[in-house]
Every structure is written in structure tokens, then in C-alpha cells.
């Protein structure tokens, strides 16, 4: 009869089957967050690339930068469900923090530059997020878009400082950790970018599998219910937006450092759209979608745009349309569906 007993007061009678069920349920939640061996694959691939394509590592580090950028977007788009058209704003803030830091202040130490970029971009994320994240839909799309373009125009306005669309010239950074010089083939840069990506990835993975990350998923799934169960939705969103902005800033800083230049195009709408396309193609809300999407996009772009940029643009447009119509969960989603299909087949046989 006692239905709503607090769990500590009276323990309901449990038979062994019930206990087993509880164990299974608890195990399910715990196991989901554990490291699984397929997760090693992308990292192995990254290391393999280092040895297999030693002459393409400059391009390789560009890919890693975009993976990091897409990962930051996944945090807000894939997990929290915030649709933004202005994520390039934070990439740009990070890129210009180290760019101007090196050119104007002589701050040429790369690793501390990443921290500075994280700080500046996350500050930008906090300030804009605090005001913008009250809105949804078209209003939010336009606000994020306009904010990014405003930064770009502001940069152009002070082109004496930023170099405008010609960029900040003559950037030279200190050797990494004071020891490793940058070589012509980008070996140092590649390792540098890979290590930064791995460290950030570790943090992002912790966050999305934490109770906080779970709450973000809740906001994406049903924001009304989150309000009703007492979730401080606005602060959760501002928090994750700030973190994601900071990570985008790190990506931007890496971009500047590995290229040794930066121009105002980093703020462009095309940059925001491109990273979103990468993430969508890879699959949102699953961490490795950013990996796959950015890598596939960049490699295809590299290959096809050499053949014909027009053809490439048409292809990527077509791919987007097809993805929306037929594969809403991205490439990883398709893999999962195929996996589920075989798992089911196996299940029915045995």
C-alpha cells in the first residue's frame, strides 16, 4: 500500500530477479560512459597519418584544427541543441588573440597563447550568451549571425590594427615548449595540434558524460520539462556556450599558430556554416561525429576543389540536402543504423 515511500525509509521487498534488474539498469548507465575500443580508432588513425603521409602534415594539422572547432560546436548544437549561425565569432576571437598578441604585444609563446585565446573567446561567449540565449528560433539565428559579422566589421574598421582582409603579417611564434622548432613539413605543428585536440577532447568527453552533460541533453530533448523540474536552463546554456566558445577560441588560436597568419575571413558566415556542415555530415551529439565530419569534409574538399571548386560546392550542397532528407544522424548515424540492423539480425537468429 505504501506507494511513495522515500527510498531510505522503507526498502521495498526485492526478490533476486528484481535485484538483478536493478544491477542491470545501474550497469547500463555506468557502462555507457566507459571507454570502448572503437574510440581508439580515430586516434590510431591520426598517429598513422603522421607516419604514412609525412609530407601532408600541414594539411593534417588544418584538419585537426577543424575537428576541434567542430567538437566545440557539437557541445552546444549536438548536446544542448543551440542552433547558431555565428560560431565563427569565437574561432575568430581566439585566432586574433594570438595573432594580435604576437604581432602587437610580442606574446609569441604558443601554449600560453592558447590559454589566452580560451580566456578571451570564452569571455566573448559568456557576454553574448548571457544576452542571446534567452531567445530561440529565427531570432537566435539572426542574433548569433549578426554578432559574428559585427566582430568582422569591427575588425575591418580597425584594419590599422588587424590588417583587415590582408591579415596580420609576419607572425612568428616561439619554438614549442622552448625546444621544438616548426619545420617546413609541419611535423611539429601536427603533433602539437593532435596533443591539444586530445587534451580538449578528454575534457569535453568528461563534460558530456557528466550529470551536467545529461542535463544539457535534457534541455535539447524537452526544455519545458527541464524548467518544470527546477533546472536553471539559462545558466546551463550560458555555461556550456562559454565553454564551447573557449574551445572554439583554442581552435582559432591553433589555426593562427599553425598557419602563421590570420585574416578577417575567420569571422565569416561561411566559416560558421562550414563547421556546422562538417558536424552535421559526421553526426551531431556523439563526439566522434566532429572527427569524422571534419576529416571527411576537409579531405573531400581538398580533393574535389582541386578538380573543380564549382563541382565541389554543388556536391556539398547536394550532400546536405540528401543528409537532411535521408540521413538525419549523419555518417556516424548511418554506421549505427547499419550496426543496429546487423545486431538485430544476429539477435533474431540466435
Amino acid at each position: 500500500m505504501a506507494v511513495n515511500n522515500p527510498p531510505t525509509a522503507v526498502t521495498p521487498p526485492r526478490d533476486t530477479a528484481a535485484i538483478a534488474l536493478r544491477e542491470r539498469a545501474a550497469e547500463y548507465l555506468v557502462r555507457r560512459h566507459r571507454f570502448r575500443w572503437p574510440e581508439a580508432l580515430p586516434w590510431i588513425a591520426c598517429i598513422a597519418v603522421f607516419f604514412l603521409f609525412p609530407d601532408r602534415l600541414t594539411f593534417g594539422s588544418q584538419v585537426l584544427v577543424m575537428v576541434l572547432f567542430a567538437l566545440s560546436l557539437d557541445l552546444i548544437l549536438g548536446y544542448a541543441g543551440i542552433v547558431t549561425l555565428g560560431h565563427a565569432a569565437f574561432f575568430g576571437l581566439g585566432a586574433y588573440t594570438v595573432g594580435l598578441g604576437a604581432a602587437k604585444l610580442g606574446w609569441t609563446e604558443p601554449v600560453s597563447g592558447l590559454f589566452a585565446a580560451f580566456f578571451v573567446a570564452s569571455l566573448g561567449g559568456f557576454l553574448s550568451g548571457y544576452f542571446l540565449l534567452r531567445y530561440r528560433g529565427l531570432t537566435l539565428l539572426m542574433l548569433t549571425l549578426a554578432t559574428a559579422i559585427m566582430l568582422q566589421e569591427a575588425g575591418n574598421l580597425r584594419s590599422d590594427l588587424t590588417g583587415g582582409y590582408d591579415g596580420v603579417p609576419g607572425l612568428v611564434f616561439d619554438p614549442l615548449l622552448g625546444r621544438f622548432e616548426y619545420d617546413l613539413y609541419g611535423h611539429t605543428n601536427y603533433i602539437y595540434a593532435l596533443v591539444v585536440l586530445a587534451v580538449v577532447f578528454f575534457f569535453v568527453r568528461r563534460i558530456v558524460y557528466s550529470p551536467f552533460g545529461q542535463a544539457l541533453t535534457g534541455i535539447r530533448e524537452n526544455v519545458r520539462r527541464m524548467h518544470a523540474i527546477g533546472s536553471p536552463v539559462h545558466w546551463r546554456l550560458v555555461t556550456v556556450y562559454t565553454i564551447a566558445a573557449g574551445i572554439a577560441g583554442i581552435a582559432g588560436a591553433l589555426f593562427t599558430q599553425t598557419n602563421a597568419y590570420v585574416t578577417l575571413t575567420v569571422f565569416e558566415f561561411e566559416n560558421s556554416a562550414k563547421v556546422m556542415v562538417m558536424l552535421i555530415l559526421g553526426g551531431t551529439g556523439r563526439l566522434y561525429g566532429a572527427f569524422l565530419g571534419a576529416a571527411v569534409y576537409m579531405i573531400m574538399e581538398d580533393y574535389f576543389s582541386k578538380l573543380s571548386p564549382t563541382f565541389w560546392q554543388f556536391g556539398i550542397g547536394l550532400l546536405l540536402v540528401l543528409a537532411v532528407l535521408f540521413a538525419r544522424r549523419g555518417v556516424l548515424g548511418v554506421f549505427e543504423q547499419v550496426g543496429d540492423y546487423f545486431a538485430k539480425k544476429k539477435g533474431t537468429k540466435s
Binding site: M150, L157, V321, A323, L325
Partner: protein, 290 residues
Amino acid sequence: MPQFAIIGVSILFDGLAYAMFLFITSVGLSVTMGLMGFVNLAHGAFAMAGGYIVVALTRNLGIGFVPSLFIAAVLVGLISVVFERGLYRRLYKSTDLEQVLLTIGLAFMAIATATYFFGPIPKSVPLPTWLQGDINLGFRAFPTYRAFLIIVGLVLISVLWYGFEKTNIGAKIRAAVDNRRMAESVGINVDLLFTLTFALGSALAALGGGLAIQLFGLSPSFAVLYLVLFLIVVAVGGLGSLKGTLLAALVIGVIDTAGKYLYAEAGGFFIYAITVIVLLIKPAGFYGRE
């Protein structure tokens, strides 16, 4: 006449011409977004398509500029129905994100197609002699073409206002924008209504695209470059509001022009700043429903 007054009049005149282009191109987007809540980032592509059809008709077939505008509008209107029925329709109930992605994809494809056929170099259009030259009012000469654009804009505003406010179909559209479910329950066929307004909106966009060639030149990037402005006009004006779209077009048009006259280095900074300020204060725009 003192210098600042001449500049003031010039800003108003050029700003008004610019505003008319913005209004003509954006109004369809506003109404269709208001009706279906559909985020259509391919709207600029329809405008671009209109522009290229005008270029092709005038340059390759030797058809006059004004008839070409009409043909382009009708053609794009018809083509848009195919897209609406075939693609857009599937996503009315989808998320913003999916709509954004689908229409960005379409815009990319449109840009690539235009580049393939017309190349990346900006195109111009041959104008009839009566649209060339200036009208001299003594203190300043005004380009005839811009005066023409203003007149076309004013005529269209009157026609649209009449159609929206005074006709049966306009009343239905307003009812559906206001409360779609209610409109459906009293027997308005919102689906058909949407197809019609979508076609009309795309036709107007095509007209705007054709009219814009003389102002800005026409290159494939038009589809994305000006899209941001159309979206701003729609968001600032308020979805589905004719009045709001007009007001927003005037504000953006005049302020952007003023910025270019007085402080060219700032580029578009002011209009984006104003967009952010307006939307922060009135998230649904000037005349949008909160």
C-alpha cells in the same frame, strides 16, 4: 544649398532606392516565414536566379530589360512551386536546424550552378536608354535608374498593401499568419495558400534580383551575400508583417547608405549593431507577434 543638406538628400534618395530593393526581395520571405515558420536560407538563391535569367534574356535573346524582369519573375515563381511541393513541404514540421541545412544546401547548389553557367565574374545588364543617365534637379543629379526603382517599389507596396488588406485572399493570409490552427479550423486551405504566397514571394525575389543587377552587379555569391540582409529585414520587421518589412527595409536601407556616405570604413557595422539592438529589445521584430 549647403553641403550637408545635399548629402542628406542623397542619403535619403539612395537609401530609399536601396530600401525598395530590400523590401521587394524580402517581403515574400517574411510572409512565408510567418505562415509556416520555415527558415528559408535559399531565398537569396531565388533572387539570384531571377537576376541571371534577366541577364540571359537581355544579353543572349535581346529581350528588353523590363519584359525580362516580368519573365524572370514568372519563371522563378513557377520553379519555386516545384521546390515547395517537392522539398520544403517535407520539412514544415522539422526543426530549425534541418530547415537551415536543407536550404543552405540548396543555396550552395544554386551558387555552383550559376558559377558553372555564368562564371564567377560579376555581370551587368544592358538598360534601355530611358533608364540611363541622370535626372538633374539643379542642386544634384539623381540617377534615373534609382528613381525608377523607387517608383517600382512604391507601386508594388501599394499593390501588395491592397492585396493584403483589402482582398479575400489577403485576409486569409493574415488570418493564417496570426493563428494557423484557427485558420485551418474555419476551412482555410493553408497548404494551398502557402504554395501561392511562396510562389509570389519567390517571384518578387526574382524581380528584386533583376532590379539589383544595375546597383550591385550580379555574381553567384549574391545568393548568400544579400541573404543575410534579407533575413535581417525579415527578423527586424517581424515575421509575416508587411508594415514591419517595409519599416525594416527603410531603416536598414537608409542607415546602411548613410554609413557608406559618412563613414565608409565601418562597412556594414551599423546595420548589424542595429539588428542586435532591435532584436534584444523586441525579439519578434517591429511588428512581429511575441
